[in-house]
Subunit: 200 residues, 2 copies
């Protein structure tokens, strides 16, 4: 039997009280689909370690380097955008030339959500929608910043959008399962895999 | 005279009404320091172009690939964290094996800012500080998510923290100038440059 392909599992659920359980569940689902899941907490440095943040960074970068692909939970976190730690890792994996898959538990586009939440005002002068700081809000119908959505769209598997209640938005796994299906198809169809460049 | 090194200029100021002026000023400062600045707006696709977001994505990735390094404005944007577009690009550049430099106009650490802004509550059970969603807030004394801060710290030039008034936090260039100084020193000291791997 050939070695299973490795998936880096990224998302803000590392900040949940039951992060380890969420990681275990995701890894079980990966195994059901024939993959090996790599969860950042698996290499967590002991709390007493000096400069523990640097150790975690190095371990996560090593994991990303050893992964064949990644699944990124891009659900908005502490505001209208995805978690920056997850997004940094998605950029890094893409820079390593490996395919990224992503999902979000906000079904609506960025601008629609910001309108819905009273965070967008239309500016007649510029004919743009602006946030509370006067910064333009992107209007491409995408779930988040164009760099995130386009990275996935360019690879042929746009960001998976699902809806979930506020209570479940960081634990629901329906969007994650959809990404596993997309990965299985991706690796089964003979598309270029190792050595291909997904940062185009 | 040898070709000038190229710096990719990233930050949420692309969403300002006067984004083009900010980009021009940053490029002038780059030239004063002997660098060539690459500003994302320079390759902006015309508004009428279909799937303009994908064109912008491709052009920005090409610019990042052609850059020798990057300066990232990591000032918090629409919440307590940096702009996800900027952070994605920082991950991508790091994955390409090129050095990143970053600055922020929040002088305080992430947890201290969230406490200050009433976004953090101490949880006796877990002995952790939690946000409004019950997610743990990192407590490493860093400006943002550990992946962002550690990426820069690992390269020997930690995130530059400055203070600015709310009105100036996306236009002040003091932190940017400090990054230019750091870059000049970086490239002058004979540290490994091209081909070096900054994603360790």
């Amino acid at each position: 039997m050939s070695e299973r392909r490795k998936i880096y599992l990224a998302g803000p659920e590392v900040f949940l009280a039951d992060a380890i359980d969420v990681g275990r569940r995701k890894k079980e689902l990966c195994a059901e689909y024939g993959f090996e899941g790599l969860f950042p907490f698996d290499n967590e440095a002991p709390p007493a370690e000096p400069r523990r943040d640097l150790s975690i960074y190095r371990a996560n970068v090593d994991m990303l380097r050893g992964a064949d692909c990644g699944i990124f939970n891009l659900t908005p976190f502490r505001g209208p955008h995805a978690d920056v730690g997850t997004v940094f890792e998605m950029g890094l994996l893409t820079g390593f030339g490996k395919p990224a898959f992503g999902y979000s538990y906000e079904g609506e586009a960025l601008l629609d959500r910001m309108k819905r939440d009273g965070q967008a005002a239309f500016d007649e002068a510029s004919q743009l929608w602006l946030d509370a700081s006067g910064m333009a809000i992107e209007d491409f119908g995408r779930a988040d910043n164009l760099m995130i959505d386009a990275c996935l769209a360019e690879q042929g598997h746009p960001l998976v959008r699902r809806r979930a209640s506020a209570a479940n938005r960081f634990t629901d796994l329906d969007g994650f399962l959809r990404c596993l299906e997309l990965e299985r198809r991706h690796f089964a169809t003979g598309r270029p895999e190792r050595g291909a460049d997904y940062a185009r």
